[in-house]
Amino acid sequence: MNSQLIFKLVALALLACVPLTGDSFYTELLAKTLILGIFAMSLDLLVGFTGLVSFGHAAYFGIAAYTVALLSPGYEAGNLWLLLFASVACSALAALFVGIFVLRTKGIYFIMVTLAFAQLAFFIFHDTPLGGGSDGVYVNVKPSASIGGWVPFDLDTQAHLYYFVLVLLVLVYLFLSRILQSQFGRVLVGVKSNEHRMQSMGYKTFGYKLGAFTLAGGLAGVAGFLYAIVFGFVTPELLSWHQSGNVLLMVILGGMGNLIGVVAGAFAFISMQEIFASWTKHWQLVMGGVIVAAVLFLPGGLAAIPGRIKRALQGGGNDE
């Protein structure tokens, strides 16, 4: 337990050092990774803890990003806190609405229906004048963090922006850990292992699942909000099903049901993407090969590797 805490603090300290290097490329890349880490944690609440495989999670990421872009005043700075609230609220509401439909289904249906609703959201931004079509929309000026005239930090400074992302990552992590220890979280885990048993114990599981779906949508909104602010432009691609596939990949790569693991999954994903892309234009071929190989040969994801090594060292053989 203690060694885990030390590990987390060391990782956090290392992450906090990144802007000190002054390398703007890697600082931005890491900011992107951390944002995807938040996104992956939000999906992990569904996939890893509640057992709901959503294949349309990018919708809530994208809806929040579009909310930031559409609510930002054209050429002046919007209010950061208002935008954060509005974008998370929009994502959570969208998730609540979609959840009412999709949670009526199970298993394969659930996967397909979440995908279909995400595709619906994609077309809303892609086809209607609202979202600026396939070119997307820009956030011209970074929002101001002003609270009643006092400005605690300035998002035009890259280091400040990075720390803002890092702090939100830590907050989302602490929030989710807290939730998972609460009665609500325990019911979700119960739903994952046996929904019928939870129902026969008197829990109205639909309400809990809807709560989890809405919460996950809202937290994906935090990630989408940050993405829009850090990168300053928003396209329908953010809602595409490739994005949903990639985040699912991060969750599985990191080992689902493990919040730190899925953030590591986001790191692994971005690293692979960068490395493969530096080798070849056809990096997706390598990525696809890695994915297929991982499913065939590495059930349990990266998070299962320490356990496997431990078991191998203890000479327990492969008794999985």
Partner: protein, 288 residues
């Protein structure tokens, strides 16, 4: 909308819906019988279209391309089942999603490496390249009628195979209760391979038939995949009959949506799906 253009849109809806049925029927069988969610099914459609392009450029005719392409697809489908999908039967849906997602990336990049990223046209065979005049200004291309006719013949053949043959009996039994079928001494793995190869070939054939109409282009499979998902959801998993009805509903909704409400045409199909989900969460033709 006057009668001639209404007729044209109706024929287009039928043709689109029937083509989608070819793709969705394989998808729903693979879902229903093997319990596998196959995201790469759209890639099979893409592979078929590119096969039609490559083979018809090489041989000079679409007939030859289809004649060669269908056995190739059957063989390739069986090979894929052996190499990848046969490992997925006892895994959970998440791992199936992941592996088939990886396969999409591989297929798209291989397509890019082998054929490139350009859009290509495929020529309509000379015999069917004409049009039937419907009014003074409007006419309807013969090739689209031929596609519809081929799809109808295939749908009837599929119905016959599943309802009237020994193989079909085993497929239906596998759809119902896998363990029981195995206990009766039927080689279920063989049935899986046959069904998978059949599904692959149907999707690829749909791609081949569609190639002269839509031309062939990168990522052409992903749209078809998601629409096929919608069809399977509306029709009910494992129901070929449901897939046919749902494919026609989607064909009409999409085609008439584009004419009547062009601003939101991309969304019409999904709205239909949402309505069906509220009414019957497990599809119109839920089995059992």
């Amino acid at each position: 909308m006057d009668f001639a253009s209404f007729l044209i849109q109706t024929l287009n809806s039928l043709q689109y819906g029937l083509l989608l049925f070819l793709v969705a029927s394989g998808l729903t069988l693979v879902f229903g019988i093997m319990g596998i969610i196959n995201l790469a099914h759209g890639s099979f459609y893409m592979i078929g279209a590119y096969l039609a392009f490559v083979l018809s450029s090489a041989t000079g005719s679409l007939y030859m391309a289809i004649l060669l392409g269908v056995p190739l697809s059957l063989a390739f489908g069986a090979l894929l089942e052996w190499a990848f999908f046969s490992h997925l039967y006892k895994r959970d849906h998440l791992e199936q999603v992941l592996m088939t997602y990886g396969l999409i990336l591989i297929f798209e990049e291989l397509r890019s490496l082998l054929v490139g990223d350009d859009v290509h046209g495929v020529e309509i065979p000379a015999l069917f390249s004409g049009s039937i005049p419907l009014s003074d200004v409007l006419s309807y291309p013969v090739y689209r009628l031929v596609v519809s006719a081929v799809c109808i013949v295939l749908a009837i053949a599929l119905y016959y195979v599943i309802q009237r043959t020994r193989l079909g009996m085993m497929i239906r039994a596998g759809n119902h209760d896998r363990t029981m079928v195995e206990a009766l001494g039927i080689n279920i793995n063989m049935i899986y391979r046959v069904v998978f190869a059949l599904g692959f070939a149907l999707a690829a054939l749909a791609g081949m038939l569609a190639s002269p109409i839509s031309s062939v282009f990168p990522n052409m499979g992903s749209h078809v995949l998601i629409i096929s998902f919608v069809i399977v959801v509306i029709g009910g998993i494992g129901s070929v009959w449901g897939a046919l009805v749902a494919a026609l509903i989607v064909g009409f909704a999409d085609t008439f949506g584009k004419v009547l409400v062009p601003e939101i045409s991309g969304m019409v199909v999904y709205i239909v799906m949402a309505a069906v989900l509220l009414w019957r969460p497990e599809g119109i033709f839920k089995k059992g």
